[in-house]
């Protein structure tokens, strides 16, 4: 899906917050390139830094107490991190679009969706009210909202959850951004609605060619949409690979643990799930050495507790931050992989007689 043109290049991105208990290191140096038309998934649990790392790109976090360092080049020309608030206001919503988790809080309840949808186009693209409205109708049509002309004058509460998220996507796309950041965009939705929304974003992406950063905790969603995946833990990227490689051969102990701990639909066996013991660390109390070592079941190197492992390219395009390389024949890994291999019934042939 993607081509070689890099639309966003992030280097050494660090984000920290001043707290009463000292500085919280929420993002500890991440790097990635996002290509045109590509979907990059960032997965991780709460507190892993996955949301903050993207919010920080356009300073959608309070500064201070937040502090952002590193660089993020957008479209080869703009460096976002050093930009002033004034300059960033021309980037947000224009060149970088956003879709957040909860459409009820990202939409303003007292304005019609028509007003919220045209606001950005009038501000960024200088469209007249009439032109913006025409475009709004097109956009609502594109995201699958029936009778868009009529619905422009409705308020958010008059839409269902799935329809509201479609409106939010329309707003995110309204100014033709180069990058769309979808932060847990389907987490609040039911699965049948989630499927509609992920399909919709993929269709729009194919049509419009934008790059998408999809932030989620759901590995199933990642498997469906991502070209490439960054797995984050304790503010770091611990594994980065193509979606195929990551699921076929996860290499970091955390990624393996995460896959093994998932219940899989159709799993015949009802053994205990291979839960990862313990809890993720608080950003104010990160462990010495590898961020994952207190919970790691493989740790066997003295360095794990003292030295921070570097992110290393293990095979081409597959990066891992661990001193320990889990062998391919490892039992836990094989168990995780075999459980995912259970054949699903074909929805079509076992049809109702």
């Amino acid at each position: 899906m993607s081509d070689d043109e890099v639309v966003l290049s992030v280097r050494d991105l660090e984000v920290s917050f001043g707290t009463k208990r000292g500085r919280a290191q929420v993002v500890r140096g991440i790097d990635y390139d996002l290509h045109r038309g590509e979907t990059l998934a960032i997965v991780g649990e709460s507190g892993s830094g996955k949301s903050v790392s993207t919010l920080a790109l356009t300073k959608l976090i309070p500064i201070p107490p937040g502090r952002v360092t590193g660089t993020a080049h957008l479209g080869g020309d703009l460096e976002l991190i050093a930009m002033s608030e004034q300059e960033l206001s021309h980037v947000r919503g224009r060149r970088v679009g956003f879709v957040f988790q909860d459409p009820m809080t990202s939409l303003n309840p007292v304005h019609t969706i028509g007003r919220q949808l045209t606001e950005g186009m009038r501000h960024h693209l200088g469209l007249s009210e009439g032109d913006a409205r025409d475009r709004a109708v097109d956009l609502l049509h594109k995201v699958g909202i029936p009778s868009p002309e009529r619905r422009l004058d409705d308020f958010p509460h008059q839409f269902s959850g799935g329809m509201r998220q479609r409106v939010v996507i329309a707003i995110g796309l309204s100014c033709d951004p180069e990058v769309l950041i979808a932060d847990e965009a389907t987490t609040a939705l039911d699965v049948t609605t989630q499927a509609q929304i992920t399909d919709l974003v993929a269709e729009l992406q194919a049509e419009l060619g934008m790059a998408v950063i999809w932030i989620t905790h759901d590995l199933g969603v990642v498997a469906g949409i991502a070209d490439r995946v960054l797995v984050m833990y304790a503010g770091e990227v611990v594994e980065a690979a193509s979606a195929e490689a990551l699921f076929a051969r996860p290499r970091h102990p955390y990624t393996i643990g995460l896959q093994a701990s998932l219940p899989v639909l159709g799993d015949v066996d009802r053994h205990d799930l291979a839960a990862i013991p313990g809890l993720p660390p608080a950003p104010t109390a990160l462990p010495e050495g590898c961020g994952f070592h207190p919970r790691c079941s493989y740790r066997d190197d003295a360095r794990c507790a003292t030295e921070r492992p570097p992110l290393t390219e293990v095979v081409e395009g597959h990066w891992v931050r661990s001193f320990y390389e889990v062998p391919a024949e490892d039992a836990a890994r094989a168990a995780a992989a075999s459980r995912i291999d259970i054949e699903p019934p074909d929805a079509r042939d076992e049809g109702v007689a």
């Binding site: 649990e45 709460s46 269902s160 959850g161 799935g162 329809m163 039911d190 699965v191 049948t192 609605t193 989630q194 499927a195 509609q196 992920t198 399909d199 905790h217 759901d218 590995l219 199933g220 969603v221 990642v222 498997a223 469906g224 991502a226 979606a243 195929e244 699921f247 076929a248 643990g257 995460l258 896959q259 701990s261 998932l262 219940p263 899989v264 639909l265 159709g266 799993d267 015949v268 009802r270 205990d272 799930l273 291979a274 839960a275 990862i276 013991p277 809890l279 993720p280 995912i340 291999d341 699903p344 019934p345 929805a347 079509r348 076992e350 109702v352 007689a353």
Partner: protein, 331 residues
């Protein structure tokens, strides 16, 4: 076969909204039948607004049912006086989705657990009470020492363990688990599910496990009932439901659940549902799923389908494709 622990027949919960001329009835639960054996787990799945949580609350009479019969180990639960109901609740507990909202923030967690002991008069003296609280915490994987701490000092997963310890305090036979893992991180969900499984095999608990995550439900449950708009549309043994789902809604639901495997996830064909779930104030006549059903035909509007046996004796579905079993719509 022994008598089931819990039998629910025609459970109905209607709420009134608006007043005067605008008064309307929300049919949150509209005729649900369920059966649960001792030590067994029944999963109740469905999308938001289908009435699964209300069903769980109504079984414990935490909301009053409008109609229907609930029989628990021979006791008619709806016929219990307030006093007997309190006594009965010792045998039936609940675990909630958000462990933060269900624990009193101003009460040390040991006290939250102790309250249950006090209400049901389950301890002799201070020392025994403290020992029992410690034992319950330990049972749920926490150190007895944490009893003096407050809910905000714990992570989500730990708080859910406390919620489970509190539910266990009154030594119940039956626990309604309402989305107990939905608010937890992926790596913690497995810990809590394992704990629930372990407690079940050690203590012989029966669970009504309410969740929207079918993969998790299938892992933990013996049987699964699928709800749509206030009704059970299909019920089957855990793998039977997955292998040969018979109701078009169940099939759509299964096909929408993402599989963590890019190769399979991208190849498989999804059954796409159009539109939104209709309002429970004014559900469609006949089959409630007919407005979104890809296999709808003329009888669906005319007949309100009843659950009938399909694909084996332990598998029921309410769908007219299997035979026009149901009640004729009047008018």
């Amino acid at each position: 076969m022994t008598a089931p622990l819990l039998e629910v027949e025609g459970l109905t919960v209607h709420f009134s909204v608006g007043r005067g001329r605008d008064k309307q009835t929300v049919r949150a639960v509209d005729g649900v039948d369920l059966t649960l054996g001792g030590g067994e787990t029944l999963g109740l799945v469905g999308e938001s607004g289908c009435g699964k949580t209300t069903t769980g609350l109504a079984i414990l009479r935490l909301v009053e049912p409008t109609a229907g019969r609930i029989t628990f180990d021979g006791t008619d639960v709806r016929g219990l006086s307030a006093r007997d109901l309190r006594r009965w609740r010792r045998r039936a507990a609940m675990i909630f989705q958000d462990p933060y909202a269900s624990l009193d923030p101003r009460l040390a967690v040991g006290e939250s657990i102790g309250e249950a002991l006090d209400i049901h008069d389950l301890h002799q003296g201070k020392q025994a009470r403290r020992a029992r609280i410690g034992e319950l915490l330990e049972r749920c994987g926490l150190h007895p020492r944490v009893a003096s701490r407050y809910p905000h000092e714990f992570s989500g997963g730990q708080r859910q363990r406390i919620g489970i310890a509190r539910a266990l305090a009154c030594e119940p036979d039956f626990i309604v688990c309402d989305e107990p893992i939905a608010a937890l991180d992926v790596s913690i969900q497995a810990q809590v599910m394992n704990l629930l499984g372990e407690l079940q095999s050690d203590l012989g608990l029966a669970y009504l496990f309410i969740a929207h995550d079918l993969a998790a439900v299938q892992h933990i449950c013996d049987r699964i009932a699928v709800m749509y708009l206030g009704r059970v549309v299909e019920e089957a043994e855990r793998l039977g439901l997955y292998r040969s789902a018979q109701h078009p809604y169940t099939r759509a639901l299964l096909s929408a659940i993402p599989i963590p495997d890019p190769v399979r996830e991208r190849q498989r064909e999804r059954i796409r549902l159009v539109g939104d779930v209709p309002s429970p104030i004014d559900p469609p006549t006949g089959c409630r799923f007919r407005t979104r059903c890809p296999e709808v035909f003329d009888a669906c509007e005319r007949i309100d389908p009843a659950l009938q046996e399909v694909a084996g004796p332990d598998h029921t579905a309410a769908c007219l494709l299997h035979g026009e079993v149901g009640t004729e719509v009047e008018g």
